[in-house]
């Protein structure tokens, strides 16, 4: 159970990191287009 819990949290952390990385592109596009 502890292992399953750790795996689920790990998968979510990686997805969150990927979403954060994608946000770089969205922020850059919005800021540069707005400027």
């Amino acid at each position: 159970m502890k292992r399953f819990d750790s795996t689920v949290k790990g998968v979510f952390s990686e997805i969150l990191f990927a979403v954060g990385t994608i946000a770089i592109g969205l922020i850059a596009a919005t800021l540069i287009c707005g400027a």
Binding site: T7, V11, F17, A18, I22, G25, A29, C33
Partner: protein, 504 residues
């Protein structure tokens, strides 16, 4: 006293190569099952035939070296097995493609197999939009298995010999040990990939359903696109690639999975075991974030300068998507190949070339220089500048963080520079051959960067009509790039030595 007769080292090499080839034969039964489910009887028969032929070749090679299966491989022999199995595997895995009638020549079939196994994603297949489900399954299985590595596949299921296993594992350009032995490491790599296969297939199927696909197509497309994204492969079932789905959600989901797919397996392992702070501290994630941010700024400014896209969302969905797809060496596209050349302009294309060469993480499914080497080279420059400012008698030590703090050694720096130089020379050679084939510098350079970094984005050079010498050059470059040069060069030197001895 008895003196043991030295054995011919070709026998153990044959045994272990046969083991890997046999696992590729067994793999061909999977698309046969898919073909049977969808009543594609001709394709099913082709797969059963080619699976039997490939397995027989593998078993034959194992039989030849069976008496010497206990012999320990040297590091050189391990790399010869890995690169030799990739070459032989490519020739045999191309059989179903050839018999399917979807290709113009056997070279085209081998090109697509190498492209799949090396997770490049360029293809020469004809009439892609009307392929059978069996052939599509095979294309995506090749890219999924290639991402993990075919040696890793064989080690996971077929061998217990730890010493030889590690040498073959290293030969496939994977030098991270998640566990003290290579077999357990290979099993963990497959476990991580299968956990994500389950999660990814569910997410991508839902995204495909929301994009308007019928349930059974949504499942198949979801699974195939996920397999391609995770392996940073770039294959898709439709010729328009990701553009076919016309869905921002679908594009977002693919981005999430190919970013995760470009992570180091040692990093996945650490995170899934609870060390989630690694994501913020690891040299590879830090390097990737820095280079991606800089290249995003350059690409966005370049696209803005040329007024290519009307608003921020279009720049994000077209510009940033291609950039991150190139940087993770995936090769999924949401623009047409020719748009790169005719619309993007030099600045954005320059950023794309750099992104494709930099690539993803070491010991991952991604290609390119790898963030680890970029990070080490940058740290070395920083260290050297710092050293100039310190008193001569002062000895400084530089550490990098990868799962744990590691002291930067001369051999790590040397190896990083060596491999990066090899990539740059290969990229230059690919560009030169492209120009000799009649393509302008910009097109030849972007395509060469894509092939060298095992990316798969195309500016329109790669097609069934390109000259055979260019197809062959790209095929060899994909193989060199995926195995990071040394294994292939060792195989070449080994063959040259054997041939030289025969001639003497």
């Amino acid at each position: 006293m008895t003196i043991e007769k030295p054995i011919n080292r070709l026998y153990p090499i044959s045994y272990f190569t046969g083991l890997i080839v046999m696992s590729l034969g067994a793999l061909q039964f999977l698309p046969a099952v898919v073909s049977i489910i969808y009543s594609e009887w001709r394709i099913a028969a082709i797969f059963i035939l080619t699976a039997s032929v490939t397995s027989l070749v593998g078993v034959g090679m194992m039989f030849l070296g069976f008496r010497y299966r206990g012999a320990k491989l040297t590091f050189g022999e391990g790399t010869v097995v890995a690169s030799g199995a990739w070459l032989l595997g490519t020739l045999l895995c191309a059989l179903p493609y050839y018999l399917s009638g979807n290709y113009l020549s056997y070279l085209d079939c081998c090109f697509d197999v190498m492209s799949g196994l090396t997770t490049t994603g360029l293809c020469l297949i004809q009439d892609m939009d009307h392929l059978s489900n069996g052939i599509n399954m095979w294309r995506h299985i090749l890219t999924f298995v290639g991402g993990q590595g075919m040696v890793v596949l064989a080690l996971t299921f077929l061998t217990k010999d730890q010493s030889s296993a590690y040498k073959m594992y290293v030969g496939e350009a994977k030098d991270e040990k998640l566990f003290p032995n290579a077999v357990s490491t290979s099993k963990r790599i497959w476990l991580i990939s299968l956990v994500y296969l389950a999660v990814g297939t569910v997410v991508m199927t839902i995204a495909a359903l929301l994009a308007g696909l019928a349930p059974d197509r949504a499942f198949l497309h979801g699974m195939w696109i996920y397999m391609s994204a995770w392996s940073t492969g770039g294959f898709a079932p439709m010729s328009q690639n990701i553009l076919y789905y016309h869905s921002a959600l679908f594009e977002l989901c693919t981005m999430v999975f190919f970013i995760i797919g470009s992570f180091n397996f040692a990093l996945h392992n650490a995170i899934l075991e609870g060390k989630r702070g690694e994501l913020r501290r690891n040299i590879e994630t830090v390097t990737f974030t820095v280079t991606l941010t800089l290249l995003t700024l350059i690409t966005t400014l370049g696209l803005m300068k040329n007024h290519v896209y009307p608003n921020a969302m279009a720049i994000f969905r077209k510009g940033f998507y291609q950039l991150i797809s190139g940087h993770t060496t995936t090769g999924f596209m949401t623009v047409y190949a020719r748009q790169f050349y005719h619309e993007w302009g030099d600045i954005a294309l320059f950023a794309m070339v750099i992104a494709m060469l930099l690539g993803g993480s070491a010991c991952s499914t991604a290609g390119g220089f790898k963030a680890m080497r970029t990070g080490i080279i940058f740290t070395t420059f920083k260290m050297e500048v710092k050293r100039m400012l310190l008193p001569e008698s002062r000895v400084s030590e530089q550490k990098i963080h990868h799962i744990r703090d590691v002291t930067l050694t001369d051999s790590m720096i040397k190896s990083s520079f060596l491999i990066v130089m090899a990539y740059i020379f290969t990229f230059a050679f690919g560009t030169l051959v492209g120009m000799f084939a009649g393509f302008p510098f910009g097109m030849a350079a972007l395509e060469s960067a894509s092939v060298t970094g095992n990316v798969g984005l195309s500016i329109g050079v790669t097609s069934a009509s390109m000259p055979a010498c260019l197809k062959f050059t790209y095929l060899v470059i994909m193989w060199l790039g995926r195995l990071e040069f040394m294994s292939v060069l060792t195989l070449g030197a080994y063959i040259a030595r054997k041939v030289g001895r025969k001639c003497d």
